[in-house]
Symmetry: C2
Subunit: 417 residues, 2 copies
């Protein structure tokens, strides 16, 4: 059973009785993204520190009572309870005393999006739907395809033309019906919307479906629990359509309402320089404007964010900030994270780190503040980008002399740089 | 502290007092691969079912008392405690009543090899070494690079010329010194051996280093524990140099000695048709002969297995069997596993499934026997192979009419097949 109480429209702030069928605000239409509110007083009876201590389900479903679901799926993929690593070396390198890294690439389809897709599939099952559809630049798609395949649901996935091949391979291996749309993310989103309406499929589009934030927010629950509810001063995350940062806020907000944490961390939203509508809006104190989608961080290349209110609110409410990083800075962050911590993130996955490094340089974040960095997806998703960040290794003849020569030459070159 | 007692040479069967420095048999030389024996009677006092029940370390290090290590690393990557999924749909499709799938692609560098590398690094730290080296077709390398980076150790990695780009991207992102050897795996192995001797680096080559089997065997411990110590009749795993199947056997053997399980599962070793020296030796009752390395399953393309005795012994001791699968069968298995269970395996990762399907068809394994299938690595490691198994998705114009036309045409084509 769920403690969900009401829907509240993020635009007109009208509230509606909670019902599993409502998707967007009846008054504002499609732009009226709904937020789900909970009966925290009632929830307090169930969700306590001792509830967590005795819970042996080390997956996102350990947080079921904090979510808008009627039950949990039977034998799903293991989503969530990804590691929160204390930084061993990166912190000192970038000038932080206390840094934790949440590796969301360790989810079953290797990104944070598994949390949203897992909830979407549970909601589809609750709605007796057997087909789910979404548009996605890649990770939402592969997570939907994988998690749905495991539970026997059919998927239609609308991808933009530029989706990296590695991600397509994963989606197609999961047996999804992939619809490659001749256009950008916007075109894929539009066509998915039309087709979903036409066929009556269950809608996993993150901006429309209010339950997805409720799935993604489990990442904040885990961060808090893994820190023994002593959360860091800041949480840093990359931002595309805004759903993830909105979810991170919602998770900490829930815990704060339940008196499980004593503060909500400040949120740093990091966008790619080539696609930064949130940053632009925040800097210029103006409404969100459509942006180009020009970045290697394809998972956050969203020119028209569909969930602007929740995301802007997340940063404002926490006295957080927005920042951008260039593609070059993103590639450098990828190499630094890999080298110092053994974590391989995709471009969008390490964009948070690129932004964190800039925030430290500019004094926006101080070295004595504690930080949690969310790495949203694994680097194997997009190895072409990773290869851009590296030099091709030297081909060495298979004898010691050639090897030593190659090594010495290389080291001399390194020294000369 | 460790319960390790003695080294026993797999060739001459002489035993030697356990010491952390011995690598191979002093009598037989490099081919005298050592096996580590334990004081099971002493171990029984510590390693009990209640030990596991109260242990909250959900990583491979929960099995530290069963391993040949003096301590455990501080703040390592989270290796192990990967999910063991009960099959939801694959079992019925291939004609099995009871099937479990161990997804080793959920390790931090996305393969089972993380278990071996994690132990190698611990042993290097115990030996006060700061450089570790290995030769590898990819997964041993990326796991060594990632796990070592996290703990601040330097790595040299010798890869054959044909290592897939995705794997190289991962290794290089971890900041490893990659030595691309102009030749095959054999050439890379030879050069690594020479360089390791020359520079006195710590040796992570699986066939030489007796501790690596002790790390990999934790996969068997987990399977047993996740099955509440009621192990399946069979365990199926793909085989390259033989270390993994030897490790699976060792793990079950340990548990059997400790009376924690009542039988050791029969092991099915699956090799790629284009590189099947173990299968050939077993079929012809003759010694292992060098084989070509002609298969897409690059992680198990090992023409000269360096650990033949332990691997052959594993299958013989359990009354198991060997089988091969063609590249086409491997690609089919990849698609079937993805579609039915939402698990994306690399070619070598799903070779076990390809072999299992053939074993069921031929009656080698019966539908009423229970089976655990180990998927050894994630499909994102080698998306080029995955793309070979699929048709390119149709490019659709972004309107409903075009979409429906494309869909209908596709469905008609499907029906005509």
């Amino acid at each position: 059973m769920s403690f969900a109480k009401e829907f509240e429209c993020t635009l007109c702030h009208k509230t509606f009785e909670y019902s599993k069928d409502l998707m967007t605000c009846p008054h504002c239409g499609e732009k009226g993204i709904l937020d789900i509110t909970y009966d925290y007083e009632l929830m307090k009876g169930t969700v306590t520190r001792s509830y967590f201590k005795s819970n042996k389900d080390y997956s996102m479903w350990r947080y079921a009572p904090l979510m808008s679901i009627e039950g949990i799926p039977k034998n799903p993929l293991k989503v969530g309870w990804t590691p929160l690593y204390p930084s061993n070396r990166l912190n000192r390198l970038i000038g932080l005393q206390k840094l934790f890294i949440k590796d969301e690439g360790m989810n079953p389809t290797q990104s944070l999006k598994d949390r949203a897709s897992a909830v979407a599939i549970q909601k589809a099952i609750e709605a007796n739907a057997s087909v789910i559809a979404c548009s996605s630049t890649g990770n939402a798609a592969s997570s939907l395809a994988g998690n749905a395949a495991r539970l026997g649901l059919k998927t239609y996935i609308f991808v933009p033309k530029r989706a990296p091949k590695g991600k397509l391979a994963q989606i197609m291996t999961f047996g999804s019906n992939v619809v490659k749309v001749d256009g950008d993310y916007k075109a894929a989103f539009q066509l998915s919307k039309i087709a979903i309406n036409h066929f009556g499929w269950y809608n996993r589009n993150a901006a429309i479906n209010p339950h997805l934030v409720e799935g993604k927010k489990t990442v904040a629950f885990e961060i808090a629990e893994q820190l023994n509810f002593e959360v860091t001063d800041w949480v840093v995350v990359s931002v595309g359509d805004g759903c993830t940062i909105a979810s991170v806020y919602k998770g900490f907000y829930d815990l704060f309402q339940l008196n499980l944490i004593t503060k909500i961390p400040k949120l740093l939203g990091v966008q790619a320089e080539g696609c930064a509508p949130f940053y632009q809006a925040w800097m210029t104190h103006s409404p969100i404007k459509e942006s180009e989608e020009s970045t290697i961080a394809d998972s956050i290349a969203v020119g028209i964010p569909r969930n602007p209110v929740k995301a802007l609110n997340a940063v404002n409410q926490t006295n957080g900030a927005w920042i951008t990083a260039s593609d070059q800075e993103i590639l450098e962050a990828m190499a630094i994270l890999g080298k110092t911590e053994g974590i391989f993130g995709e471009p969008a996955g390490v964009t948070g780190l690129a932004g964190l490094m800039k925030a430290l340089e500019s004094g926006l974040i101080h070295g004595d503040e504690s930080v949690t960095l969310i790495v949203t997806g694994n680097g194997l998703k997009d190895t072409d980008s990773a290869l851009k960040a590296m030099n091709e290794p030297i081909l060495v003849k298979p004898d010691l002399k050639s090897f030593i020569e190659a090594m010495f030459n290389k080291e001399e070159e390194d020294n000369n740089e």
